[in-house]
Structure formats: structure tokens, C-alpha cells
């Protein structure tokens, strides 16, 4: 492969600005989509092949494009995840590229993620090609968008106008990629360094690494070494996705492909790690590697204790394909045996929870998500606490620190006041504000991560009629006056309902939580008092009245199957409840804290 004819690029955009439609059009225009369809058909007819074949995820596609100068180019389109939880993964994908298409919706304009992605791309010295999409829509306003682009320092006049829906402008995009994005450089003779930007687990081949060769080369049969762990593997298969898997013998500098080497799980192919060759290892890894670090923790418990081992096996399986997921066994007085799980963010948590329930048919209780608090004890030791119940006694604590983020919010100027209110309610500290255009402002706030977990984005959206867009990055730890809030049901503290909150908010949260629990806990045969307490001080109290009557007046011949259906529905609901002492508590009670103001 002639290095000067390779272009590595990615597409970055705010959500819904048309990233995947543009990718589809580019695949189509270069003939890759037809090939994919063909490959599918071929594979379908060869069951054996398919069974021992590998599952392909389109993490990176190699496209062949004949440019106007008559030369053939290899365009590697590298996929980037689209959510703030995965910003580290995004940064690794960007590091594998020389250029980026920055897609902006012609009617929406620049949004928070547009900016966040742009800054990330600029940090990696990428050539930016602004692409203004959806120009066919009646409310498209490319001139306004160009002005916004100028305001954020981009060469707006060079923006390509496209409609990914109709295909208009796609050829110009391809031409711009060839002309404006520089070819990769990298010494083919240097010791090998390849950047892993993605990976996945295949049950026949083990972990598959998606990598960009920076220097040197990788051949089939090479013994490779992961620079973060030193572990060595023999390359069994090497290939590129066009988009069907096409084996190659060698990947050289600037090339992008997938590498299979009988690696057990994705912990062997960590995103951001550097692959080198064992016989002539590189002296230094590529910069920027950082092991995935969970930001959010919660407890996952089976509703019925018998499902504990099933849950453990399911987590084992998910972890094969998810290097960011961590878990360790824990137990709760209320919920029995379960796992404390760590996630990159709330979305990541929800994805894992949903997969466990859907793919593994588990009935789960998820406790309220918690950030990691840093507790400095009087004896000078520091403890990281990701579970409120693990908080040491107050008398031993010198102070507690909680994680803060820098949140960037873009919003039309009429909602600036609303955004400020929401941020202040959430203990935010104003950092800066600037106008991108006379109508659009960009606000920066320092916010506790714990507040972002509490339904922050939904609240922001609802207060700004859906116009606000949000992005955030981790800033660091700061001392904070937080306390543990306990909930007592029927006089008994329920450890799984404890939360850590800021002292100023404790009473309001305690009250709101007690009220919310009153709503979600069904009436029982007896009265159930709900109390919120800080230490031994009760700060709120609600009561679930006793159920007095649950009986059908009539049950004759025709009512039998009706009654049975009714009872089965009731029973189905009960299955999803956890019995705490003698109180039946539904699953949503444990997440109730997320739903209160």
C-alpha cells in the first residue's frame, strides 16, 4: 500500500446531526455498501463458514476511492462512539486519524457535542472538514451555520454543503478528504507501534483488536506484545474490513485493520494500548493510554437469591466484551448477595442493566448510582468509597471529597437564565459564558458529578424546551460537606436505600425521597412508616396506609379465568418485588432517588 494514498478519518457530530446517514452515503458512493450486501448473501449460503467465521462490527471500514486526479486512494473510516460516557474511547479513535469530518445540522447549528468533539479533534491535530448536513430541509440555514463556524474559529468558507439523505454533495466530501487530509507518515522500518482504538469479543476467535499501525508493521505469525501488560500473543489472523472481512498478510504504517491472536477477552486488547512486536519491541508506548476507570457505581442484586450465580456468570460474559465494566461481590443486609459494579457513566450502566435483563433474562434490583467519594480520615489515611453503606463513622472522618466535572452547555440566549438556575440548584459554580452567535451562548459550570447523575440532563432539557445540549469532562476532587442519608422502612434501616448527599440538600432530598417511596411502595397488610434519617435524627416521615380490602365480590363460573388472570397479573408484579423484612418493595424504589428533585 502506497502510504501517500491512505487517508484515515472519522466523522464527529452532535447526536442526530446525521453522522450515520453520511457514513452510509460514503460507503455507497465508494461501492462498499453493495459489497457488504453481497458478502452477507455469500455468508448466508455458507453456514459452516458463518459458524466458524467472525462477527464483524464496523469499527473501521476500508474504502477504495478513485479521485479526480485518476489515482486510487484507500480511505479508512473509523467509527467513534457517540456518548459522553465514552469520551476516552472517542479520543482514541481520533488519535488513529489524520482528519475528521465535523458534521453540523444545517438547521440546528453548532451544539455542545459539536464543540466537545471539535476540541478533542483539535487536541489531536486533526484536519477538520466542516460538513453542513441536511441542506435539503426547508428550515436549513447554511449561512447562519457558517457564521457560527467562523465564530468558533473554523474555515467556514471551506465547509462542504451536503444532504446525506439525497446524496447531494457526497462526491465533494470524498474529494475534500483526499485533498485536505494529510496522508499518514510513519517509518516502516521502525520498531512496531500500533494503537488499539477499539476491540470486541468473538466467541470463536477471542478478543479482536482494531488498530492503527503508526510505525513498523504487523504480519500474520508475528508474536505481538501489549505494552501496558507485557503479554504476548501470536497473530493468527490479520485483515481489513471492506466492509466484509478480507485477510491481509501484513499491515504497514498508516494502515488500519483488525488483529486476532487468541486473546482471551477484551482485557487483553485495551483501548488506547500500544501493540508492538516481541522480537523488536518499541522503547516507548504511544502517548495517552489510560485504563478505563469507572466513574459511577451501583449495586446489582438478583430479585431472587437463587439467581446470584446466574448473575455472576452473566457479568463474566459481559466483561469479555466490555473492558470498562468492573464488578465485585458485595452483600447487603436488605438485598442479600449481589455485586458492586462500576461504569463509565449512567448510559453505560443502563446498557449493562438492560443487557443483563434482556439477554440473560435476569430479574434485577439496581441500587441508586453513586460516584466515588474520597474520604480523608483523621489518621490521615484516604479511603475511596463507592457505596454509601461503606462510609466510615462520622467521628473518624476528617473531611470528604467528591468528584467534580466541567460541564459545557450550549443554549439559545433566552434560556440562559433557566440554565443558570438549574446549575445553581445542582450546586454548580459558574466558570464562564460566551456568545457563539448573538443568539447562542456557551456556558461553563463546575458541577459535582453526583448532581449530573441525578436526572440533570432531563431537567436541563425540560427547562429549556429541549434546546440545551450538554457535554462534560472530569475535573478532579474537591472537599465537600456531604452526609449519609438513611431510609428506614417499618423502623428498620434499609442499607440499599442509603445515599450520600450534600448537607444543604439533605432535608429536602430526604423529604422528597420519602414521598417518592410512599408512591412506589404498594400498600401492605399493615401500615408501613417510611423515615429518612441523618445519623439518629429523623428528618422526614411518610406512611403507606395498610391495605384493608383486596377481594373480588363475585366469582362464579364465568369469572374463573378472569380471576385467575387478575391474580396472575398481581403475582407477576409481586415477582418484581423484594421482600425487606416483611415489606414488599418494588425494584423502582431503589432508583427512586434519581426521580426526586
Amino acid at each position: 500500500m502506497v502510504q501517500k494514498n491512505i487517508r484515515n478519518f472519522c466523522i464527529i457530530a452532535h447526536i442526530d446531526h446525521g453522522k450515520s446517514t453520511l457514513a452510509d452515503r460514503i460507503l455507497e458512493a465508494t461501492g462498499a455498501l453493495n459489497q457488504r450486501e453481497m458478502t452477507d448473501q455469500v455468508l448466508d449460503s455458507m453456514d459452516l463458514e458463518r459458524e466458524r467465521g467472525i462477527t464483524i462490527k464496523l469499527k473501521a471500514v476500508r474504502l477504495i476511492y478513485r479521485a479526480h486526479n485518476g489515482e486510487e486512494y484507500v480511505l479508512n473510516l473509523i467509527d467513534t462512539p457517540g456518548h459522553v460516557d465514552f469520551s476516552y474511547e472517542v479520543s482514541r479513535s481520533l488519535a488513529a486519524c489524520e482528519g475528521a469530518l465535523l458534521v453540523i445540522d444545517a438547521s440546528q447549528g453548532v451544539e455542545a457535542q459539536t464543540l466537545a468533539n471539535l476540541y478533542l479533534a483539535l487536541e489531536h491535530d486533526l484536519e477538520i472538514i466542516p460538513v453542513i448536513n441536511k441542506i435539503d430541509l426547508p428550515n436549513a440555514d447554511p449561512d447562519r451555520v457558517k457564521k457560527e463556524l467562523k465564530d468558533i474559529g473554523l474555515p467556514a468558507d471551506d465547509a462542504v454543503l451536503v444532504s446525506a439523505r439525497t446524496g447531494q454533495g457526497i462526491e465533494q466530501v470524498l474529494q475534500a478528504i483526499v485533498e485536505r487530509i494529510p496522508p499518514p507518515n510513519g517509518d516502516p522500518e521502525a520498531p512496531t507501534r500500533a494503537l488499539i482504538f477499539d476491540s470486541h469479543y468473538d466467541r470463536y476467535r477471542g478478543a479482536v483488536a482494531y488498530a492503527r499501525i503508526m510505525e513498523g508493521s504487523i504480519k500474520r505469525g508475528d508474536v505481538i506484545q501489549m505494552m501496558s501488560t507485557g503479554r504476548k500473543f501470536e497473530v493468527t489472523d490479520l485483515g481489513v474490513l471492506q466492509p466484509g472481512f478480507t485477510p491481509v498478510d501484513r499491515l504497514g504504517p498508516g494502515e488500519v485493520g483488525c488483529i486476532m491472536a487468541s486473546m482471551k477477552d477484551v482485557r487483553d486488547t485495551r483501548v488506547g494500548d500500544t501493540i508492538t512486536t516481541a522480537d523488536r519491541p518499541a522503547a516507548e508506548p504511544l502517548p495517552g493510554y489510560r485504563p478505563a476507570k469507572p466513574m459511577v457505581y451501583c449495586g446489582l442484586y438478583p430479585v431472587v437469591n437463587e439467581e446470584y450465580t446466574l448473575l455472576r456468570d452473566a457479568l463474566d460474559k459481559l466483561q469479555l466484551n466490555d473492558a470498562a465494566l468492573t464488578y465485585e461481590a458485595e452483600s447487603s443486609a436488605a438485598l442479600g448477595f449481589g455485586f458492586r459494579c462500576g461504569f463509565l457513566g449512567l448510559l453505560h450502566l443502563e446498557i449493562v442493566q438492560e443487557r443483563l435483563e434482556r439477554e440473560f433474562d435476569l430479574n434485577l434490583i439496581t441500587t441508586a448510582p453513586s460516584v466515588v467519594y474520597r474520604v480523608v480520615l483523621k489518621d490521615g489515611t484516604v479511603k475511596e468509597i463507592d457505596n454509601p453503606t461503606a462510609l466510615p463513622p462520622v467521628t473518624k472522618i476528617e473531611h470528604i471529597e467528591e468528584p467534580f466535572v466541567r460541564a459545557t452547555i450550549l443554549v439559545p440566549d433566552e434560556f440562559i437564565g433557566a440554565v443558570m438556575e438549574v446549575c445553581q440548584e445542582r450546586r454548580g459554580t459558574f466558570i464562564t459564558m460566551e456568545y457563539l452567535t448573538p443568539e447562542r451562548a456557551r456556558l461553563e459550570y463546575e458541577l459535582p458529578l453526583a448532581e449530573i447523575l441525578m436526572d440533570f440532563f432531563d431537567r436541563l432539557k425540560s427547562r429549556t424546551k429541549g434546546y440545551a445540549s450538554l457535554d462534560y469532562e472530569f475535573l478532579g476532587y474537591k472537599e465537600s460537606d456531604v452526609v449519609k442519608l438513611d431510609i428506614l422502612l417499618n423502623g428498620n434501616p434499609v442499607d440499599a436505600l442509603s445515599i450520600i448527599v450534600h448537607r444543604d440538600k439533605a432535608v429536602a432530598r430526604g423529604r422528597a425521597l420519602a414521598e417518592k417511596l410512599k408512591e412506589v411502595i404498594p400498600r401492605q397488610q399493615f401500615e408501613v412508616p417510611i423515615q429518612a434519617a441523618i445519623g439518629s435524627k429523623i428528618i422526614a416521615r411518610e406512611t403507606v396506609r395498610a391495605l384493608r380490602k383486596d377481594v373480588l365480590a363475585k366469582c362464579y363460573g364465568g369469572d374463573v379465568s378472569r380471576k385467575k388472570k387478575l391474580l396472575e397479573r398481581q403475582k407477576e408484579g409481586k415477582k418484581r418485588m423484594k421482600s425487606l423484612g416483611n415489606v414488599e418493595v418494588p425494584q423502582e424504589a431503589f432508583m427512586a432517588i434519581l426521580k426526586v428533585d
Binding site: 384493608r548 373480588l552 365480590a553 363475585k554 366469582c555 363460573g557 364465568g558 374463573v560 391474580l567 409481586k574
Partner: protein, 380 residues
Amino acid sequence: MGVYVHIPFCEQKCSYCDFHSIVVGEVGVFSDLVDSYLLSLRREALYYKPLWGGRTIHSLFLGGGTPNLVPPERLAALLAFLREELPCSGELEITIEANPHSLTPEGARVLAAAGVNRVSLGAQAFQDELLQAIGRLHRAEHISQAVHNVRRAGIKNINLDLMFGLPGQSLEQWQDTLRQALALKPTHLSCYALTLEPETPLARWVEAGFAALPGEEEQVEMYQLARGLLRAAGYEHYEISNFALPGWRCRHNLLYWRNEPFIGLGSGAAGFIGGRRYLNVPDVQGYILSWEKGSPLYEEYAELSRDEEMDETMMLGMRLLEGVDEEAFRRRFQVGFSEVYQGAIAELKAKELVEEAQGCLRVTERGLLLENRVSAAFLR
């Protein structure tokens, strides 16, 4: 064995009722429809005849709808047909449901002559304003007249259906209803809590705020008042909503609660025979058409497994205050319920919802009001 015959005709729909019935102004106009319907009932009865298998019928029940809207002579003819064709016991209980205002002395006599020996009157309440509020056509005075007419015709076994928890009903009104009902000395009393069925006019009125039902606590009080007054008057409380003088329990309904086989004839009627439950289509025309073709048209049909039959036996039996008899259960299923439902029973006992007495498992005072919880525990 029992036979239920559904008569899906009404003069007017009560505002709380969600049964399928055809509203007929004057039956005469609809006599063709009624004739076709009665003919279909006969066809259906004959269809199930081969399944009888030597069993004897102890009860015939004409329910509705409003059975006494059909001219008594035609009902008499239907009864004669059924009694001739089906293997009826010599001591057959034949019940007819009737509206108080439309049961004439002549009608009662014809029915008595046809073998009807039990009449269940839809009395509901003794306050005209309440009767009107729920869309009943009769007035309080009709109730005693109807009881009188039935007795004059020689029928001693009389039930009064009463309702509590009606919109605007006070505890005093309910007490008055119970007193007036007792004064008529019926052999049997059914006291039903009003159930708000979705899609009924009453449910909509309540939703819209035009009508308000007594609260849960008040309904519980009304129920306990009925139990106290009726038991003091010598009635046995034998099923959640049913009371009878000793020896006068409703044989037909006991069949349901003991989960014994019965066939249901007519549109919307349910049956349980040969381990299968069926529910006929509710639509009268559809029902008639199906029998013109000679076969049933089911809305629902289910073949019960042995386990399901056990579950249902418990679910229904726990409605009876005497409970479910362990030996009877063992005779039927070759296994005792204490073995099958060991865990469930232990849990219910711990919650003080059930207790054991005289070889039976039965609901406690507390379990009586939470009977759904008890029944649900027996569904596997």
C-alpha cells in the same frame, strides 16, 4: 353437575354492569330473536350430552341478563326440554334470576309449575334514589311484592341480591337495606361490594367526578355490618358474599366454588367439563349462527393440566368460609394440598391469612378481606 343457562336480554342496562346483553324494549318485537336463541340453547345442550358420562345434574340455573323478560311459558318449555333430555336428579335445584318489578304472580306460578324452586331477586337496595342512581328500573316497594308473588306461587327458597359501596350510599342506608331485607325473611342473601368495571357508565361518571363511591374504610365497615347483622339473624356466612339460613345454601354456586364440572349454555356462558374450560362468544347473533351450523363458537378455551386444576380448586375453594377439605382434595388429586402448597401455606399462615380447622384450610377474619392474596398464593 350443574347447568347454567344464560339469558342475555335486559330492559335497560344497569350503569355498573359489563355483562353482554341485548336491550329489548318490548320482548314481543324481539320474539323471533328470542325463539332462535332458545332453539340454540337446546342445540347446545344436546351437543354436550355425550360428555355427561353417567353424571347426574343437581342444579339448573337461569341467569342473565334478565331471564324473566322471556315469557314464562317459553322458559317453562325450555326447562321441560332440558329436564327430559338431560340426566337430572330427583332433587333438582332450579333457580331463576328475576327483576323485582317484572315478576308477576302469573309468571311466578308458571315457573313454579315448570319446576323452578328457587328465585334470586335483584333487590340491590331499598332506597329509590340509590336504585335510580345505578340504573335499576324497580323501586323498593317492588321487592316485597315480588317476594310475596314468589311465595304465593309456592316457592320457598328465595335469595335477595344486595349491593353495598354504591355511589352516595351511607352506612345508615346500608343498614336500612339489610333490615328491610331481613324483614322479608329470605332463605338466602348475597351482599356484593360494588365493583367498578372499566368502560361502564358508572366508571366514567366516577372518573369524571359525577359520582363518588364510599371509601375503602367505609366499604369494609359496610361489609362487617352485614356480617354482624345477618349472622345475628341466624344466617350462616358461607362464602365471601353469601349468607344462608341453615340448609339453604345455594347448591348451584357451591358447584363453582368446589370446582366441580358444569356446562354453560348461551352467549357469553362459561363451562367446565372434561377438564376443559370454555367461554362462549358474548355476541348473541354470533352464538345463534354458530348453533345453526351445529358447533360451538368459543371466545376462550383451555385444557387444564392437573396442576392447573389443583390451583383453581384452591383458588375457588378458599372463597368458602369452611375452606378446602384436605381429604376431599386428596380423593380428587391423590395428593394432599399440604404437600403441594407447603411453602405457600406456611407463608399465608405466617401472615395470619389462613388457618386450619377440622381438616380444612380456610381464610381467617383478616384473610377474608384479602382473599385475592390468599388465592394468588395457590397459583403456580
